[in-house]
């Protein structure tokens, strides 16, 4: 589903991502962990196509990002670490805008919006302007908009930040459901317990370099993910 080959991105003298390679197969929930400034967001933004990169190749569902970015973007949804949405729109207008862009037919979108908004208990607030939403509500709206067009690959940057426990539980279920249907998820998180329980595979990044990746068992062995992460960070 997603192939990242030798991705390198620099900002001036600073190497943010250094020769990073990752492969994510359909059906996989792939966790991406690392300390602040390790290069997680830069990698995600490069995959989404909103940040250019210096070298390497990114392929989404077999389509090279460099040569056909629009085709790649049609396969993905992205939720950034801070859900800055169009505050001049209401929740429902934003969802309809996203549905229009992805060409989701009217009856299909209505059913999906009704379903997801009900799950996140956001239905009653859909007519409110987004400017009146709390951080958690914006995050829920961003999640609904990501699921709305049934993308093959969902990329999320710290998706659990700001969500209440019920919404977090719901999101974890939706992530599993999405991957069970053949989709894939690549997300960054600092919540190692969540990563340990939820992810099929995990990658640890440090100073832009991938220092360990693989299935959860391969990465952590008999230890906890937290112990492994802290050991690797200390090296």
């Amino acid at each position: 589903m997603l192939r990242i080959e030798h991705l390198t991105k620099t900002f001036g003298d600073k190497v943010a991502v250094d020769d990073l390679s990752l492969h994510i197969a359909p059906g996989e929930i792939y966790g991406f962990i690392g300390h602040n400034g390790a290069g997680k967001t830069t990698t995600l933004r490069s995959v989404v196509g909103i940040q250019s990169f210096d070298s390497g190749e990114i392929t989404i569902a077999g389509i090279p990002l460099r040569s056909d970015p629009l085709a790649c973007k049609r396969q993905i949804a992205y939720i950034p670490d801070n859900p800055d949405l169009y505050e001049f729109m209401s929740g429902i207008k934003y969802l309809n805008f996203i549905a229009d862009i992805f060409g989701v037919p009217s009856d299909v979108r209505s059913a999906r919006i009704a379903d997801y908004a009900a799950r996140f208990e956001l239905t009653a607030d859909l007519a409110q302007p987004i400017s009146a939403y709390s951080h958690g509500m914006k995050q829920k709206l961003a999640i609904i908009s990501a699921w709305l067009h049934e993308p093959k690959l969902i990329l999320m940057d710290e998706p659990f930040v700001g969500l209440d426990p019920k919404a977090s539980f719901l999101l974890k279920g939706m992530m599993r459901e999405h991957c069970d249907k053949g989709g894939a998820i690549f997300f960054s998180t600092h919540v190692l317990e969540v990563a340990e329980k939820l992810c099929d595979k995990v990658a640890i990044i440090k100073q832009g370099r991938l220092i360990r990746s693989g299935t959860m068992e391969e990465v952590k062995g008999d230890e906890s993910l937290e112990e492994v992460f802290l050991e690797l960070e200390a090296e």
């Binding site: 909103i50 629009l70 801070n82 169009y86 805008f97 229009d100 919006i113 239905t123 009146a132």
Partner: protein
């Protein structure tokens, strides 16, 4: 504390002068100086020059009639009106809608210190507007009358008092707007309506005032003493600038009292208004089947939603949509009489056609929605960048908003012009084509500039809407183009006539459009994705 806040406030206000957002680094000294000189020239030459002319026509006759105080009273009232008009909506946005209000309020900073720092921004804005009227008035006065130290002191005191009074009134009106905003649903539309009403009243009063002033000058011997007797406060206010110590003391006491009352009013409500999140009334959601839109239509609807949700954006960048048709109607109603006068002054249809074309172009300059449209994406830029949409489609939607708001209105006004001056076919077609190409050219130019100089890190939306380079170029560039169009014709009086002249301009403008369009198509998408 206040010093730190003021430093932050000034850093924000003058950020564009010291910092190049595109290159993400500080400007060179030469760049900063150049930016300041450019700004001062605009304010001093364009606006200051206009008011210097008004002051020159008033000063000598009023002073000689012993009514120098009335001269300052008139110029003072104009300065107050302009100051309030220019800064009232900035006051509301700057005081209550600043994005860092929550952050500052969460810090151990007294609310009064935050207010004071915010007010300094408002004060500078009001001072700037008041100064472009009153500084030329003072210069004209000091040149016209014999020099005296009390008059010099009075002029300085007068300028300070005026600027504080403008601040007081702007804050009061900003407070009213904020109060209304917490209660209204369609507040941006209501705000625009109120502002337009204000503009209407301003121009009505301005035209009436001009007649009144002429009448005043003609009969100053009668009116002067009468006004002084019946409006003694106005006399004291005006005489303060002439160096009257009583006038200075009374005016200072009055302005200080007003300021203190405003400060108390603001202090009592600032926290509530700055943290208000809307009317509080929840809008009930009813699930409806939404019609599926095409991508271009969805993007266009999004741009229009952005525009109509923002009173500042509408007032500063789309006012021409209303004023251009008004110009057309005015031409239909009064055009024949005006045309006759112009024909007799300029001796034929050709110069009149060029002058009216200039007026149409100037009116179009008031619509520049494309100029801040990229910058206004702000922190939302990730949304259009991550969507499966050709960036050109996003840019085209931004262009379309400006063109849709301008071109139909302009076509109507152009047709009115053609009808009124009974232009022959070639001239008529030129009058129809050139303003349309002008609109397209400046829309393309300002969008290109905003792409190159986008400011996505603003904390106050007024920064991209009012204080950005693309907006300045769109507005002043439009005026410059218009003036050039008229001036060249009047200076050269080309033998081939106005139709050919206008077509030559149209052709050059058309080539400019083509170059900008091709550049935007080829590199605009990349520029947008690199933001």
């Amino acid at each position: 504390m206040v010093k730190t806040l003021l430093k932050k406030q000034f850093a924000e206000i003058f950020r564009n002068y010291f910092y190049d957002t595109k290159k993400n680094k500080a400007r060179s000294k030469a760049g900063t100086v150049g930016y300041f000189i450019f700004f001062v020239l605009i304010m001093a030459v364009l606006l200051g020059g206009t008011f210097a002319a008004t002051a020159s026509s008033l000063c000598a006759p009023l002073y000689e009639a012993g009514a120098g105080w009335l001269y300052f009273a008139i110029m003072g009232v104009i300065a107050i009106l302009l100051g309030i008009f220019g800064s009232v909506f900035s006051t509301y946005t700057g005081l209550y809608l600043a994005k860092d209000n929550d952050l500052l309020l969460s810090l151990p900073i007294p609310v009064s210190a935050i207010m004071l720092a915010r007010l300094m921004g408002v004060y500078l804005m009001g001072l700037m507007y008041a100064a472009v009227v009153i500084v030329p008035a003072i210069i004209v006065y000091l040149i016209t009358v014999p020099f005296s130290v009390p008059a010099l002191i009075g002029c300085v005191v007068f300028l300070i008092l005026l600027s504080v009074f403008v601040l007081t009134l702007s804050c009061l009106l900003g407070w009213v707007v904020a109060k209304l905003s917490t209660r209204l649903k369609n507040k941006s539309i209501v705000t625009v309506f109120v502002a337009l009403l204000g503009i209407g009243v301003y121009y009505f009063a301005y035209f009436k005032a001009m007649n009144l002033i002429q009448d005043l000058i003609a009969n100053i011997a009668v009116y002067g003493p009468a006004i002084r007797e019946k409006a003694y406060g106005l006399y004291l206010f005006g005489s303060a600038a002439e160096g009257n110590w009583l006038g200075m003391a009374a005016s200072t006491a009055f302005v200080a009292l007003c300021f203190l009352l405003m400060w108390r009013l603001l202090g009592r409500s600032f926290l509530t208004l700055a943290t208000a999140t809307g009317s509080g009334e929840k809008i009930k959601y009813t699930a409806r089947r939404a019609e599926q839109r095409s991508v271009p239509s969805a993007l266009l609807a999004k741009e229009f939603a952005k525009l109509t949700s923002n009173a500042n954006y509408m007032l500063n960048c789309a006012l021409g949509t209303l004023l251009i048709p008004i110009l057309g109607v005015a031409l239909l109603v009064k055009g024949s009489a005006v045309a006759e006068v112009l024909f007799s002054v300029f001796g034929g249809i050709d110069p009149v056609a060029v002058l009216l074309c200039t007026a149409l172009c100037m009116a179009c300059s008031m619509n520049d929605c494309a100029a801040p449209s990229v910058s206004l994406e702000g922190k939302n830029i990730w949304i259009p960048q991550s969507l499966p949409v050709d960036p050109w489609q996003i840019l085209r939607a931004k262009l379309r908003v400006q063109l849709l708001l301008t071109l139909p209105a302009l076509l109507f006004a152009s047709l009115c012009t053609v009808f009124v001056i009974k232009a022959p076919l070639a001239l008529s077609l030129a009058l129809l084509a050139l303003p349309q190409l002008f609109t397209l050219f400046f829309a393309l130019l300002s969008l290109t500039l905003d792409l190159k100089h986008a400011n996505l890190s603003w904390t106050n939306e007024l920064a991209p809407i009012k204080q950005s380079m693309p907006v300045t170029v769109a507005l002043l560039g439009g005026w410059g183009y218009s003036v050039l169009l008229a001036a060249l014709y009047l200076l050269l009086t080309p033998p081939f006539g106005a139709a050919v002249y206008l077509w030559v301009f149209a052709a050059i403008t058309g080539i400019g459009c083509l170059i900008l369009y091709l550049r935007l198509r080829r590199r605009g998408g990349n520029d947008f994705m690199e933001l």
